[in-house]
């Protein structure tokens, strides 16, 4: 990256960013007043994928930890939702967040194991862990109903329209929080340490970044965020199986969205989810073809434009919406 790259990018003023964000969020919040329940379901899915992609981007794009086992936290979050809401009779909207707490708590011992693996082997290690959770859940035939899965019974206690509205508002809250979290974290001191680790772990350590602690922090935060979204996804679809919830396809979605949109930027996943939905809706009648096309586009991106669509746009428009890159003081 050259200095001219930095000098020529315009940034929205904090006020413009704030006002635009408030308007977008207000528009999103108003959907239940005029939108169909179909639209709301699609938007919940859209927001879920956006939040998942933000979490994977934080882990890989900012901290350099490529995990292909993020489905572990989706499955745990989803199952935690059902256990807390149905077995322990806790409010199901609250249970969504408890799912994130469960994921974060389990991420701690998991990190102790997978952090012993470097780079590529770390990726497969995270996958093994996700498989262990899937197999354990599937072998719980009484409590978790094994391979046939469970249904969120608590959902029946609430009138359908109200439940859908509340689920939708919760999704907006989670989606906005995910974007805000990454934005805030990357502008913090820890974020600076993270970027340093991604660029060179050895150099970061030599400059006093506590690399192990920062990486663990990010890993656990991402597990929490992904677990919460896992709960949200199954609050939306109401039925969970180990095969679907612990499927590696979730991670494939996250990776394709982030790589196509632009890895290591807050804007990238936003753009990526739009492309992802466009391709999926357009090719929905062609089964496996949409995944093949997404894979081809993602690989093409990695080879030709590793900065993704947002990288291309940023150069063209010379604009950053969510500035998290550091600049030298005299560049203003």
């Amino acid at each position: 990256m050259t200095t001219s790259d930095f000098q020529e990018t315009r940034r929205l003023s904090e006020r413009t960013l704030l006002i635009t964000s408030v308007l977008v969020v207000a528009a999103l919040l108003s959907v239940p007043l005029w939108g169909s329940s179909n639209l709301m379901r699609t938007l919940v899915e859209f927001i879920s994928l956006l939040a998942l992609a933000q979490m994977w981007n934080l882990l890989a794009g900012y901290a350099g930890m490529v995990s292909v086992g993020q489905q572990a936290w989706i499955g745990l979050g989803g199952y935690a939702l059902i256990v807390f809401a149905d077995d322990l009779k806790i409010n199901m909207f609250l249970a969504v967040f408890l799912g994130g707490v469960v994921a974060a708590l389990i991420a701690l011992p998991t990190a102790a194991l997978v952090f012993r693996l470097r780079a590529g082997y770390f990726a497969i290690g995270t996958w093994v862990v996700a498989e262990v959770f899937r197999l354990l859940v599937a072998s719980s035939t009484d409590w978790l109903k094994g391979g046939s899965g469970r249904t969120l019974a608590a959902a029946g206690a609430l009138e359908r329209g109200l439940r859908e509205d509340l689920t939708y508002w919760l999704a907006v809250f989670i989606g906005v929080s995910a974007v805000a979290l990454v934005y805030w974290l990357m502008r913090s001191r820890a974020g600076l340490g993270l970027t340093a680790i991604r660029d060179s772990e050895t150099a970061a350590a030599s400059l006093g970044v506590d690399t192990d602690r920062v990486k663990l922090l990010v890993y656990v935060i991402c597990a929490f965020g992904t677990g919460v979204v896992g709960g949200l996804i199954y609050l939306n679809v109401l039925r969970i199986t180990p095969e679907a919830s612990f499927s590696a396809q979730w991670t494939a979605f996250m990776i394709f969205i982030v790589v196509i949109g632009g890895i290591g930027t807050v804007e990238g996943p936003l753009l990526g989810v739009l492309v992802f939905f466009a391709i999926r809706e357009y090719l929905s009648n062609f089964g496996g073809w949409s995944l093949i096309l997404l894979g081809v586009v993602a690989i093409g991106m990695m080879l030709v434009a590793p900065q993704g669509l947002w990288g291309i746009l940023r150069k063209r428009l010379r604009l950053e919406l969510f500035p998290v890159r550091r600049r030298l003081p005299d560049e203003g």
Binding site: A60, G64, V66, V68, A112, L113, V114, R116, L117, R118, A119, G120, Y121, A123, I124, G125, W127, V128, V129, E131, V132, L135, L136, A138, S139, A248, A252, I255, F256, V259, I263, G287, G288, W289, L291, I292, L294, G295, V296, A298, I299, M302, L303, P306
Partner: protein
């Protein structure tokens, strides 16, 4: 006697896992690259052998002579046409590219061959077995093991005794210095990926003779390869064989205790090794 049988089956299965693992650790050793589509290439090789068998009517053991060179060429092409372009840009691009390939391969196989599982017809060998005392051994699993060990011996000789083998090791130790000695590291990387996929081709055919396979089977093969390597220790061919055998034993013993524990037992042994002996049992390659 039943347990003797289970242990023998586990050991024989380990030979196949060692081949999976060798293909994976070979390219990691030479260029620190982890191929996330590794397992899917094993399944591709099995399907290629299936198609070759249908077209030529030959036994899978002869088809491997067609499939292995094909996979070698595919590996060269993949490395030189695609992955070499990402050299020096960190570890992430090759990981994400091979992950994308994995998804593409699974879906292309699914669209081409449907989700039905298939097997390679090796004739009588598949069901033939012989009995020693009260222990009965299948000829196919035994052949798999023997072929796997022979291939490992051949690779060991290739790396230790031949000039290209030395070039591989030199590039693995220090690519910059190897370049100064006149070695074209990009070419070595291409050959390494080719060799890896040729080993994968043999593994894929042996897999097809032993059991059925389906388009979505790749990721599990990748994980078995990884587990053999991690248990055995990075960069050691014989370590990978021992790792594969331990994995095969764990899976077979686990399945005996509870039929659903086949994969779980293997994963747990791997995590135990990671917890108590993170460098594996016979580590050699440094992973930095």
């Amino acid at each position: 006697m039943q347990w003797v049988n289970i242990v023998l089956q586990g050991i024989l299965l380990g030979g196949l896992y060692a081949l999976y693992g060798t293909g994976l650790s070979l390219i990691f050793g030479v260029m620190r690259l982890v191929n996330l589509a590794h397992g899917d290439f094993i399944v591709v090789a099995a399907y290629l052998a299936l198609v070759a068998g249908q077209m030529l009517g030959l036994s899978p053991f002869l088809n491997v002579l067609i499939v292995a060179p094909l996979m070698f060429g595919l590996g060269m092409l993949l490395q030189q046409g695609m992955l070499n372009r990402t050299l020096g840009k960190g570890l992430m691009p090759p990981l994400l590219i091979t992950f994308g390939l994995s998804v593409i391969i699974q879906n292309v196989l699914l669209l081409t061959f449907t989700a039905d599982s298939r097997g390679l017809d090796a004739g009588q060998i598949e069901t033939a077995s012989f009995t020693v005392g009260e222990v009965s051994l299948g000829v196919a699993p035994l052949m798999t093991f023997v072929v796997a060990v022979l291939l490992l011996v051949a690779l060991q000789l290739f790396f230790s005794r031949t000039t290209p083998g030395r070039a591989f090791r030199a590039t693995s130790d220090d690519p910059a210095t190897a370049e100064l000695m006149g070695i074209n590291s990009k070419q070595i990387y291409g050959l390494a990926m080719g060799l890896s996929l040729a080993v994968v081709a043999v593994a894929g055919v042996l897999l097809g003779v032993r059991t059925n396979f389906a388009p979505a089977d790749g990721p599990a093969r990748l994980i078995f390869a990884f587990e053999s390597v991690i248990i055995g220790g990075l960069g050691s061919l014989w370590g990978t064989l021992v790792g594969g055998i331990i994995l095969g034993l764990a899976q077979n013993i686990g399945a005996q205790l509870n039929p659903t524990w086949f994969q779980l037992a293997g994963h747990l042994v791997t995590l135990l090794v990671l917890a108590f002996r993170p460098t594996g049992l016979f580590a050699r390659t440094r992973d930095t």
